[in-house]
């Protein structure tokens, strides 16, 4: 049961992302803020940290291709960035402590890096013309805050679920 729960949560998060994206952009006092939901990659980072780096990279590749084909129509963007982020997360965690607060911070920082790379790419191919300062204020900061909130609410649940799977696997082996 737990075995199928991990990929099905990933699928659910993948399908929920665009629904949450419909709530954005929000307007506060004449300023427009974009909130980009990054639930799936946060979850994959957690899998990479607490479960298995290799497994996370595989999931990252699969969902990256789906994301590229369905939403972006530029194949090879998310399908490289998602596995890369998972790989980075899995590598970082080997040298530091696995406390929930630390991993949450790392996840949010990695999402910020992802967002920044995407901005640079879209700037390069002329899809967007907004200057760096505007990007930081109207996109990066609100996105980081929203995703950090999401992770604070559901991070422990991810960890609980993944730990249950790890325990089950250990029992199967023994």
């Amino acid at each position: 049961m737990v075995r199928f729960l991990i990929p099905s949560v990933a699928v659910l998060l993948f399908l929920l992302e665009p629904e949450f994206a419909m709530l954005s952009p929000i307007e506060i006092k004449g300023e427009v803020y974009f909130l980009v939901p990054r639930f799936l990659i946060l979850y994959l980072i957690f899998i990479s940290i607490y479960y298995s780096r290799q497994r996370a990279v595989m999931y990252g590749l699969f969902f990256g291709v789906l994301y590229d084909v369905f939403y972006i129509d530029i194949i090879g963007l998310y399908s490289v960035l998602y596995p890369l982020i998972c790989f980075l997360a899995g590598s970082i965690v080997k040298v530091i402590h696995q406390h929930l607060v630390v991993t949450t911070t790392i996840s949010v920082v990695l999402v910020a890096i992802l967002e920044f790379i995407l901005y640079q790419f879209f700037f390069l191919i002329d899809f967007t013309a907004i200057p760096l300062a505007d990007f930081l204020r109207s996109r990066l900061l609100p996105t980081i805050i929203a995703n950090a909130l999401f992770l604070m609410i559901l991070g422990w649940a991810f960890k609980y679920l993944i730990n249950a799977r790890v325990l089950q696997r250990a029992r199967e082996v023994s």
Binding site: L15, E19, M22, S24, L66, F70, Y71, I72, T128, I130
Partner: protein, 304 residues
């Protein structure tokens, strides 16, 4: 031995990079059709997405109705004030409509650029990373949707179809930065002024209407609607209201900033307009001037 492995990895990495760049540049080209594997993925994800979208839209609807319930008193007061004018306007409109029909019959002119067959569609997803302004609908080519058709809400035009698969279609919204995105429009002033909606000003949140003849008078507050002269869109779909008029970069024609009448941020149900009169690929599409309504016949004529 370790040296050999190092080399192998580097070569693998380089090959991977070349492959990646090739893939990205292939998909960045201005493609008109999705490839078969892409179509299969799009349709499968689209079906799953529309299942999730239903409860999500429902919950969204509940929040919206609570929101409108809170505003009921204010709204009621405003609407009552407008109701009296409305009766007069409606009587006038029915009168004009019947007169218009009679005159059309007299002239034997039954086709109109205004007429269209609506295809109702639900928004199942919005591009989550929001770099391109794009939404995905649950109707595709099997429902009669074609590329470059106009997409609108009750308030006005929101965009046009850019990609169609059998069961989904993609809409690029009007507030895009794509320089190849044009909509033929006209200003409803004392004398109609024609121009093209090209581009979006992000700071002002306004659309930019270019190439208006400089001899024509265009004022702030005048309405802008689609002209139907681009070949694909029906005539008379509201686009917005002029907020500022200036001359364009070369000083030869006028340009105007247009506040869009439709709200692009919250879209749930939209209407795809299938024009009933002949469809030609003009400035609303790729400007090839091809007859889109019966392509076989058109190519036959060209061959002759």
């Amino acid at each position: 031995m370790p040296h050999f492995f190092f080399n192998k990895k580097v070569i693998l990495l380089l090959v991977g990079m070349v492959f990646l760049v090739a893939l990205i540049s292939f998909s960045l080209r201005d493609r008109t059709n999705a490839t078969l594997p892409e179509q299969i993925i799009k349709d499968t994800v689209g079906v799953a997405q529309s299942i999730v979208a239903k409860p999500a839209n429902y919950i969204n609807g509940i929040f919206n109705s609570i929101d409108s319930l809170l505003n009921t008193y204010e709204e009621n007061k405003r609407l009552k004030a407008r109701l009296e004018d409305f009766a007069v306007v409606q009587a006038e409109a029915t009168d004009l409509k019947s007169e218009n029909n009679k005159l059309r019959e007299l002239l034997d002119k039954t086709e109109s650029l205004k007429a269209f067959n609506p295809i109702h569609a639900t928004v199942i997803a919005r591009n989550p990373d929001q770099w391109e302004e794009k939404i995905i609908l649950d109707k595709g080519s099997s429902h009669g949707v074609q590329k470059n058709m106009a997409v609108m809400t009750a308030k006005g035009l929101v965009g046009k179809i850019t990609l169609v698969t059998p069961f989904t279609s993609e809409v690029e919204l009007l507030n895009t930065n794509n320089p190849n995105y044009r909509v033929s429009a006209m200003v409803l002033g004392e004398k109609e002024a024609y121009g093209l909606i090209e581009g979006f000003d992000e700071e002002r949140n306004d659309l930019i209407m270019k190439r208006i003849d400089s001899s024509l008078k265009v004022k702030e507050g005048e309405l802008v609607v689609s002209s139907g002269l681009g070949g694909i869109f029906p005539k008379g779909v509201p686009i917005g209201e002029i907020t500022e008029v200036s001359t364009d970069d070369y000083g030869l024609t006028k340009m105007a900033f247009v506040k869009p009448s439709a709200d692009f941020s919250i879209l749930e149900h939209v209407v795809i307009a299938k024009r009933t009169s002949t469809v030609i690929d003009g400035s609303d599409g790729n400007a090839t001037n091809e007859d889109l309504s019966n392509p076989q016949e058109a190519s036959k004529e060209e061959a002759e």
